[in-house]
Every structure is written in structure tokens, then in C-alpha cells.
Amino acid sequence: MPRRDDLSKILLIGSGPIVIGQAAEFDYSGTQACRVLRQEGYEVVLVNSNPATIMTDPEVATATYVEPLLPGPLEQVIARERPDALLPTLGGQTALNLAKALHENGTLERYGVELIGANYDAIDRAEDRERFRETMIDAGLRVPRSRIAHSLTEAQAALADVGLPMIVRPAFTLGGTGGGIVYSESELARVVGRGLDASPIHQVLLEESVLGWGEFELEVMRDRTDNVVIVCSIENLDPMGVHTGDSVCVAPQQTLTDRQYQALRDQAITVIRAIGVETGGSNVQFAVNAATDEIVVIEMNPRVSRSSALASKATGVPIAKIAARLAVGYTLQEIPNDITRATPASFEPAIDYCVVKWPRFAFEKFPGAEPGLTTHMKSVGEAMAIGRTFKQAFAKALRSRELDSRPVFPADDETLLERVAGASSERFDHLLEALRRGHPVAELHRRTSIDPWFLHELAELVADPQAPFAGERTFKAVDTCAAEFAASTPYYYSGWERVASNEVRRGERPSVVILGSGPNRIGQGIEFDYCCVHAAQTVRESGRDAVMINCNPETVSTDYDTSDRLYFEPLTLDDVLGVCELEQPEGVVVQFGGQTPLKLAQGLADAGVRILGTGTEAIDIAEDRARFGPLLDGLGYKAPPYATATCAQEALHRAPGVGFPLLVRPSYVLGGRAMEIVYSVDGLRGYLERVVSESGRDIYLDRFLEDSIEVDVDALCDREDVWIGGIMQHVEEAGVHSGDSACVLPPHSLGEDMLQQIREQTRGIALALGVEGLINVQFAIHDGDLYVIEANPRASRTVPFVSKAIGLPLAKLACRILLGERIADFGLPRDTANGHVCVKEAVLPFDRFAGADALLGPEMRSTGEVMGIARDFPTAFAKAQAAAGSRLPQTGTVFITVADRDKPAATGIAGQLHDLGFRLIATRGTAQALNRMGIPAQAINKIGEGSPHVVDWIESGSVDLVINTPVGTGARTDGYEIRAAAVARRIPCITTLSGGMAAMRAIAAAAAHGEPEVVSLQELYPEATPAS
């Protein structure tokens, strides 16, 4: 069946900010879909609130809206653009839920928009637990015994039927948010309550536990003529009970017999047909008891997913690309296999290697959070590795993780074995240690239920870790067909064989190697992948071959279409040098992938590999306070007093000289890892005891400038010229990590004199360091003076945001400098102002880490970001808040409690909110302060003053906005309980006064002007959009 000619304009919804459970994989799938649909001659309208995505680059879609992913803005976009169809299956759960909402509120029908890919009924059948279960049973498949509950009472009644342990799955949440396991009756109320709260329809599924069974996933594709293929099977090493996103996984499946595997395949096909996904990819999860041949269907996603991104990277089959073509009418046999070009997409890949995926966790950033793994996903990223054998792949995946610190193993075996038994982020490290200590496979199997096959393989790996890497390194192609046909797509991995037999076809053109950023983690996310993709595009445009090295399967950079050659490799010195030896590149680009490639720069330079752009010397000066301080002194720029210590003793000795409060951190960190503000010698001692023992690095002490305004600058430098790309003013005061702070471009409250100083100093630092490419400088304005906080001679997290805000691709321009061009040749405008204000807001994962304090601080904790664009700051801020998931209320009740020093300023905010019609409630002290100024505020109890206290108010749903500035952090404070309750109820919770001020102004603006208008990037920057 050919392409549908009755459609001309298609609306695509992205997945919004990176959150746990929904990451860069949807930029990968969405970008592929946009490109394919445009190649097919369709106009594509894209809505995504996340600026750090390739899909929102203005040349990718016909019209790109960086707007909140909410029904209101979407309806505006539909009214303006009048698309014929909506393709909801490529933007994760967010897009699916939004499409469902637009159907339910009549928008799609009103504007005549057809859902393609999956219709409403199919989505509902897959997503509604009860309907899914009925559909499976009707199709003759087994599902775990289960009951639906809408209340605690119903849950208690269901207990007898379902039995313990019992899995709790909330309906309509992504990545299993709010899910959990009930082991004993006493846990029922807590776990079920959390699940009911997390579900937008207050529905949970209570399910028979199949803990310990094997967990398998199949990636299925179907076309309009009902042809179905399985792209890949994935086996979880962690048995059932751990979310698949948190499991170590292998592809293809290893332990099932052909007969068992074919039974899964048959059932997966039955599932996609029964659910009625007409076209595209779906993911079906099974639990298998291999001893009894029992199979139960766990769930299916009627859309592309994290697993399908993994399956695409594992097999070379571009699932999203094919899904987009299927959605517009093609059949599988009409779509060519990209890799062989000679064969059609209606086939199942044959793999002749092993793929292992490791999740990347960030528990260290959330002290107090429950460390165990459950059905509620907690990992923030993943690394994938390909090897000729399972052992090669597993060992490569281990080193791809780039752990900041090695796990510490308990000395006594029993404790070790207990840690092995429970699923945790370090389970497999402990398991390997247990094998090292000689614990037998049978015992470990008994304790973990991990399939003995894996345990045997790991035992052999532990016995001789180097054995899989004996022989010669040889690069093999990922070709979808186990070499049965010649492949034309250059996607490679390293294997080790007795004799090398390289398959890389390195042409005559010079190549440039771009080092990616490895697994996503907090502090190093999709922003850097965005920059790496831009670097690859620029290298290709320059007539050179772009060579990408990365190990993150979620990304656009590891799409084989992005570069001329993709090497799916760990980002270690040895692995990178292996590629360089073969490629003999003109140079290596290290400044776009965050800290990961930067750490390799010196080693590469020492090995004789040329680093393009800013050299290792400049990197070192910027990072080494002992060298950077004198550089600033020489330029006559101010910096907060600082000191560097090599040990805890020295740090304590030097601290008084610097002066408190102190910002303290170990050297070479990203995302403010282990960065804290301490107010006294005792505080510092406590910090050093907790943190320094694990790092062994230098300790940096900086005076913390309280109540200052922070400013971030991204600029280009070619050693002669400097061009300021953007100056961003932080909304939160200094002390909140720049990655977690909302920021505004252009600055909303800085005078021209100050801006001029900022430009001058940025210029001075860039030239003094000898930067070639990008530099990011952070400043603080304190008592009217400008202080340099730090300079990073590399792409920063804000590069995509700035690029979207000014309509110029900073990373591409920087890459052109690396390749020898000069800023003077670019014809860049002196002023990038365009009449719009852009606000970036961070998205935080506190709802994932029950027990951790939901408070902003110097350690970065956000996983992603959104952007709000409007003609004025308050409206842009309101859009950014809405896009970040904490939509500001227009009416209702505001709870205010602030530290004494904040009371005068809080009074102004509260007065305005009162005038806007909000009811104010406050703790006694704050209420008195407000009442004294004539602002009515009802005093309510603190927690210690008895019920009903503040947390009761929040939990009962009586509060719509919380303004709470902290007086101390950590557990057991009232502030902690208040913030935790607000996070649990998804109530906007503002923890800084400047944030409160911005929120108040945003609410006022919305009250005056109504729902903000949507605007496309192409309208903002008509001249910046290249013809395509």
C-alpha cells in the first residue's frame, strides 16, 4: 500500500523535558520521524517544550513550537496549524497521554485531526489496566492474577485474591512512577496510597507477584496489512521485580530454548493484534518461568519506547523511522532495510554479537532516598556495549558506566550476600565481588534467582577478566543480518579475535572524531549530545568524515545517520585510542561531550592524537584554581576568596582565611557533585568526613557570596575574537546550582553597565585562556560588584537553550572554529535581541526518590529542562513553569512559610497574591508578619503543634501553591516534610524568594492576559531557518 495522499500536514508531539523514565530516546525517535515524514513530502508540525533536542532544531520540522505539553497550548497549535493527523506514538508516554486528552476533550474531532499510528481505542486498551487484562484474557493469554483498586479499602479487599508479595502499578504513569511492591500487610497502606496519588485517574493494579521469574521484552512492528515482525528480544539479567529501565539487560535473549522463545514471539504477535496497534512499534513484556514453561504477559507499550531505542541500537533497525513510514500508509515490505539497502524491512534481524545495557544511577545525589530497586524506575541514563561474546559485551558495558566512585564492599560475606540478594544500583558489582570471593553459582542463584547461565558467565569473567580481550582488537559492523548480506551503513563495534579482520571501510577523506558524552547522568545529559550531533553535522558539511564515538543508546548521536561512521564504544582512553589508530583522524573534538571527553584530552594528546580547538593547557588552567586565580588577578577581575587543599586537615586549616560561608567541593566535578555550602568549621568538618574520604582529589574552598545574582554566559572565541552568544540571569539566588536554576535570556534586571562588564570580562577570560570554540563563564553580582565564579572552556549545558533563544546554532559555529574558520567570517549580528524573552526551567526528579529532601542547592539534581518563550518575562516564566509540570495556579490557597530574614520580602509577594484573590495561609510567625502589614493570612499549625498541621493541609489537597524558604535542610525539619508533601501531591513548591517573586508576576500576567499565545521558532527567526 502506498503513501497516504489524503494527508498533507502531520502533528508530532515530543516527550518534553528529560525525566527519569523518559529521556533522550524520544529525541532520537522523534527526530527520525520528523525527517522521514518531511522526506515523504509532508509538512510536520512539532510541539516539544524541551529546547535541548535535535528535533526542535528549526530545520527539522516545518513549524516548531517550544511550548508546554498541555492540552491548552496544543489546542492553540492545532487551531493555528490545522494539521490533518496527529502521530502520538513517538513522543513517549507524554505524547500518548496528551493525544488521549485531546481526543477526550473533543479537540481532535473539532479540528478534524486523525490519530495515526495508534488510534484512541488501541491506546486505551493498552494503557487502561483493566481493559488490557480483559483483552489479554480474551486473546487466550495468561496475565498475573490481579485486581483493580481505586481506594485503600478496595485494595484491602483484593489482598485475599492476589496474595503477597503483591505488585502495585498505578495507571497512566510513565516509567512506573508511584509503583511498588507490598511484602507485608503493614506496608499496604503506604505503597497503595502512593500509587493512587501518582495515577492521574486514581487507579492502581494490584498484581500477583512473579518475582524471580525471568523478564523478557520483545519489540514488535506491525503494518496496515497486518504483517508483524519481531525486531529484537531483550532479556533482563535482573529477574522480575526490577523495572526494566533499571535492569541490566542483554540482547538477544540468551537462556530460552527455541521453543520457549517462539512461544513468546507468538504471544507478542497476538498481543499487538489484540490491542489493535495498527501500525508501528510496540514493546511487550513477559515474565517467564523457564522451569514450568509458564508465560505471563506483563504489559505492552503501544508506541516506541526506551526499549525500542535500545533495540534499534542493538540491531541497526531504525524502529522510529520505520514506524513513521508505516503510520502514513507504507507496508513493511515496501520499506527498504537501511543497512543492507537490498532487502526490505519486513524481516527479523539476525544478530551475531551480544549487546549488554547497564543502567546509570544517581542515588548519591539524593541522600536519604530508599536505595532499593523496584518496579518504579530510578536510573537516570544507560550505557550499552556490543561485543562478540556476552563476556566482551558485559565487560565493555561495565567500563562504559564511568562511575564516579567504586562501590565499597562489606568485609563480611553474609552482609555481601545480603546486598547481592536485594536489587540495588550496585547489585552486580556486589555479585562480581561475591564470585571473586569464591561463592558458588548455585548459592548465588538461590539468593538472587538470576539465571545460572549469567552467573556462570560472570564467574568465568571474574576468574580471568582479561580473557575476553585476548587476541587482536577488530572492528565489526552492525548489519542486521549476521553478515548474510553486504551492509552499506557504517555502524561498528570492537570485538577481540585471534586475528583481526576489520570491516571498516575508511575512505580517502580526512576524518574528525567526535567524542560523545556517554551515559546520561545528572549534570551531563542530552544537552551535550545535542552539541555532539551539531559537531558531527558541521564536520560533514566541511567535507570531512564525521566519526562518532559514544556508548549511550538513547541518543541522536548514536543514530548511524548522524555521522559518517559510528563506533559504539566505551569512552575510555584505550577504547578511543583503538578507534583513532584505525581512523588516523585529522583530530579529535573533546569540547562538546561534557566532562567525559575532557577527561580523556590529556591522555589522547600524550598519545599523539591532535585535540581540535581549545587545548589541554587551557582546560587545565580553567580547572586548576591555583592557575586560574592568578589569571583573573592579572586581568584585574574579582573572584570570591578561595583556597585549595589537598587533604581534610589542610582544608580545615585554610577555611578561616577564606571566610564563611564556604562553597566546598572536590576538583573535576560536573553538576556540582558533592558541592555544598557550609557555614562553620563544624559544618566543614562534617562535609569532609562524608565526602573527601571517597574522592582522593583536591578540595576547593570558595567564599560563598550570599544573596547575589548569578549570571551564565556562553561565548565563542577563536583566540582573536570573542562573540557573546547569550547572557543568562538566574532566577534563583546564588547557591542553587546553575543547572537547577531557572534562567532568563536576555537578563530581566541587569543594567547596561553591568552587561558591558560581563561582556568585557568574558572576552578577557576567553582570550587569556586561549579558547578555540566555546566557553561558558559564570559570574555572581554581589553588592553591585561582578565576581567571576568559574570558566569552562567547553560547551555548556545551556548551549542548546541559548541557540534556540537567539536563533543561531552556537555549537555548529564553535565547531567551524575548530575546523579552522574565524568568527569574523561568520557575519554574526552584534545584537541578538529579537523582542522575545526566553526562560529555561529545570525539571527535578524528587518524586522518584522518596525520602530525599526536595530542596534546591549547590549540588545539581535536575534531569532535564524546558523553555518558555514570550514577549515578556512573567509570561515566559509562567510558560516554563507550566512546561516543567508545576503549573502556577490562578486561584486558590497559597501556603507561605519563610525564614525570618526573608519575611520583609515575602510580605510584598504575599500582598500581591492577596490582591490577585488568593487565600493565604501561613505558619504562625509568617502569618503574624503578614498580618502586621495588613495582609490577611490564616495561621495554621506547624507539624509539632498538632493536627491539622501544614502537611495535613497539603495532603488533603487544600493548598495550590507552596512558598517555603528553608531554615536548615535534611530530614526531620518541618521544611523537609512540607516540601516532600508538596512534591508528592505535585503542588508547585517554590523555595527561593526570587522564584516566588517571578511566580507572583507570572500569575499576575496570566490574570491580566489569559492563556499565553503560542509561537513557532520559524516565526521568531525566519532568517535563521535554512531552506531544506
Partner: protein, 379 residues
């Protein structure tokens, strides 16, 4: 690295070293590769692999051990297993024995720890050829002599070697007395027999040398042409038998059986460069437009009525035979070779691929329903 204890040598001199992991003996024959990622035991016990050494493209082979339920015949037919990372463990729930222990016990040589992908790429480019697996103590010139002594696959009748000496009668598994099928057993897979019997059919497995009269003696409702090894052109005696049966009874067949019916109605067969061996080939049914993912295991293929190697159109190819009109009904979407035949004026249909799977996907199991119901309708 462990020093090499065995090697693979091809007749063109291509050599790869590895570790011996099966019986300590040389094995020679045609080296073919299969891309199926599971089902190693089914493959190696499939009589169609007689005379061949199997190189597995999937590296980890042996993961779940071996069990009697996975046998496709009563013994191993392939001459050796060539693997990247052989596994010998017996603690999978269904395992009765470890894979390598079993191979060794059965006297089948095997080699592991060699670059199977390099071997496959060589065969893909140079074509399937004779070769062998040799213990390191066998010198290369001795090995070369052994390879030279092996007859080429083209022109070879291997069906006779794997066919039973006497007819074997099997009742249906369901207990019902459905249609009776006379199977010309050129090396039938257990899965085929099981699928037929599971649908109520009773089958008699005849030696491939049985005459038409012997086959008709029991008054079967249909004739079934089995899969099997070797060159279809070398078993003209079976083709002659089939010509006597077409029109008198419905004739169905799989793989070699397909090639034999095609030859019986006047088509030629030829040797593919490296054959089709795997579980992922898309085959399109030209009469319905549907695509199935199929299990494949054949080194020879059928030429179209004009001698064409491929079917370039998406319509069935129709022509007149000695038995009336016929259609080529199925095409392999990888290389557009012939995958199915249907006779239009007399009952008869065959497929080149393996609807019985074993190993492989079950997309085409419905063909057995069709065979059995058509036989019942014609009976």
C-alpha cells in the same frame, strides 16, 4: 589466549584457528552458515544438514543444553559445529545434558573461539564450499587431501543415506483417524511429522526408493514430500515416482519435497551461492500479499518456468505443465527466489521454506491446517 587446538580449512585455502570442543576427529563436507539465533540442537539433528558442517553466526551456542524434546531426528546429521563461543552447561531447566558433552559423546567434532563472522563473510563472498574442521595435529596437507576426497554437494544423493530402510506407520497424536499420508521420507524432520499428526493425520514414512505402487498400496489420502539433504537433481528416481502420483493423489511437500515436485512438473533446480539457512527470511505469499517470517534451510533452489532465477513481479507466475496449469505462489523477499508452488488443475502445493519451524518462527504453521483440510476435502 589459549593456544589453538583445531582449525577450519576451506577448499580455497581460507583457514581460521580455534579450540577443539567436540569429538577429537576431523570432519569434512560442505561448510554452510545458519543465522538462526536459537535452536542449535534442532539444526544439528535436522537430516537436511547431512553432509554439511554448520557454522553458527550467533556466537553463544549451547546456552540451554540439549534435551530429547528438541531432536529433529534420531541422531546428529551435520558433520561438525563451528562456533564463536560454545557453551557446555547443563543447568538450564530443560537441559538433559551439556551441548558439547553431547556432541562429543555422539562423536561429532566441534570447534569454538574462532572468528565465525570472518568465516561467514568469506563464504558469503566466495560461496559455500567444501572444507573441514581438523584437530591441530592434522597437517594442512593432510587436511587438504581429506577435503579433496569429499565429493562436491552438486550432484550428490544424500537422501538415500538418511531415508528409513522400511516403512514406518504412525497414528495421529489426537487419537482421531484423520487422513492417511504417505510420506516419501528423504530425511523428514520430526516437527513436520508432529505437526501433521497433531492435526489428526496418520502418516506412513516410506523409504525414498519406494515405488508409486508401494506408496499407493495403503490407499493414502495424499502424498507428502519431505525435506532432505543433497542435490534434488541427483534423486531423479524420486521425481519419476512423483510424476506417477501427481493427479492421482494430492501432493504436498516442504523444502526438498518442493524442489522434487517442481522438477516433476518440469522446472529445473540450481545451487544457490551459499544457500538459505536461518529463521528470519521474509517470504511473500503472492496469492494473498501477506509476508511471513520463515525458517529456511536449503542450498538449492527452483528456477522459474523460463529459467529465471527470480520472480520480479508481485503476481504469481502461471504456466502450463504436463499436469495442467501451475503457479509459483511464494517469493523470498531477500533475493526474490522461488519459495512456493501450487498446481491449479490437480491438487498439489509445496513450499521451499519450513512452516514446521523447528527451529524458527511459527508464522506459517497454518499451512499444515490448509494441507490437512484440503486433503480431507479431496478424500
Amino acid at each position: 589466549m589459549k593456544p589453538a587446538t583445531a582449525y577450519v580449512l576451506l577448499e580455497d585455502g581460507f583457514r581460521l584457528d580455534g579450540l577443539a570442543c567436540g569429538a577429537d576427529a576431523p570432519a569434512v563436507g560442505e561448510i554452510v552458515f545458519t543465522t538462526s539465533m536459537s535452536g542449535y540442537q534442532e539444526a544439528i539433528s535436522d537430516p537436511s544438514y547431512a553432509g554439511q558442517l554448520i557454522a553458527f553466526t550467533y556466537p553463544q551456542i549451547g546456552n540451554y543444553g540439549v534435551s530429547s524434546a528438541a531432536m529433529e531426528s534420531d541422531r546428529i546429521h551435520a558433520r561438525a559445529a563451528i562456533m564463536r563461543a560454545a557453551v557446555d552447561r547443563d543447568d538450564a531447566p530443560s537441559a538433559e545434558q551439556g551441548w558439547l558433552e553431547w556432541l562429543t559423546g555422539c562423536g561429532v567434532p566441534a570447534i569454538t573461539d574462532l572468528d565465525t563472522r570472518a568465516l561467514v563473510r568469506h563464504i558469503r563472498d566466495a560461496g559455500a564450499m567444501k572444507g573441514g574442521v581438523f584437530p591441530a595435529r592434522v597437517t594442512e596437507s593432510e587436511a587438504r587431501a581429506l577435503i579433496e576426497a569429499e565429493p562436491p554437494m552438486a550432484g550428490r544423493d544424500l537422501a538415500r543415506d538418511v531415508s528409513p530402510g522400511d516403512a514406518v506407520r504412525l497414528d495421529s497424536i489426537t487419537g482421531s483417524s484423520g487422513p492417511l499420508l504417505a510420506v516419501i521420507d528423504t530425511g523428514v524432520k520430526a516437527s513436520i511429522v508432529r505437526e501433521l499428526r497433531a492435526r489428526g493425520a496418520r502418516v506412513t514414512l516410506h523409504p525414498c526408493t519406494a515405488s508409486a505402487e508401494e506408496l499407493l498400496a495403503e490407499d493414502p489420502d495424499a502424498i507428502f514430500l519431505a525435506n532432505g539433504p543433497g542435490d534434488p537433481a541427483a534423486v531423479d528416481y524420486v521425481v519419476r515416482t512423483v510424476r506417477e502420483l501427481v493427479g492421482r493423489r494430492p501432493v504436498y511437500g516442504i523444502c526438498l519435497g518442493h524442489q522434487l515436485l517442481c522438477r516433476a512438473v518440469g522446472l529445473e533446480t540450481y545451487k544457490l551461492p551459499f544457500g538459505h539457512h536461518g529463521a528470519n527470511h521474509p517470504v511473500k505469499d503472492l496469492t494473498t500479499g501477506r509476508t511471513e517470517i520463515t525458517s529456511q534451510n536449503h542450498g538449492f533452489a527452483v528456477l522459474g518456468p523460463g529459467g529465471a532465477r527470480t520472480i520480479d513481479d508481485d503476481r504469481p507466475v502461471r504456466w502450463e505443465t504436463d499436469f495442467g496449469a501451475a503457479e509459483l505462489t511464494h517469493v523470498n523477499l531477500y533475493d526474490r527466489t522461488v519459495e512456493g508452488l501450487r498446481l491449479l488443475d490437480v491438487p498439489g502445493a509445496t513450499v521451499q521454506y519450513h512452516p514446521e519451524a523447528g527451529p524458527g518462527p511459527h508464522d506459517s504453521l497454518y499451512l499444515f491446517d490448509r494441507f490437512v483440510s484440503e486433503i480431507a476435502a479431496n478424500a
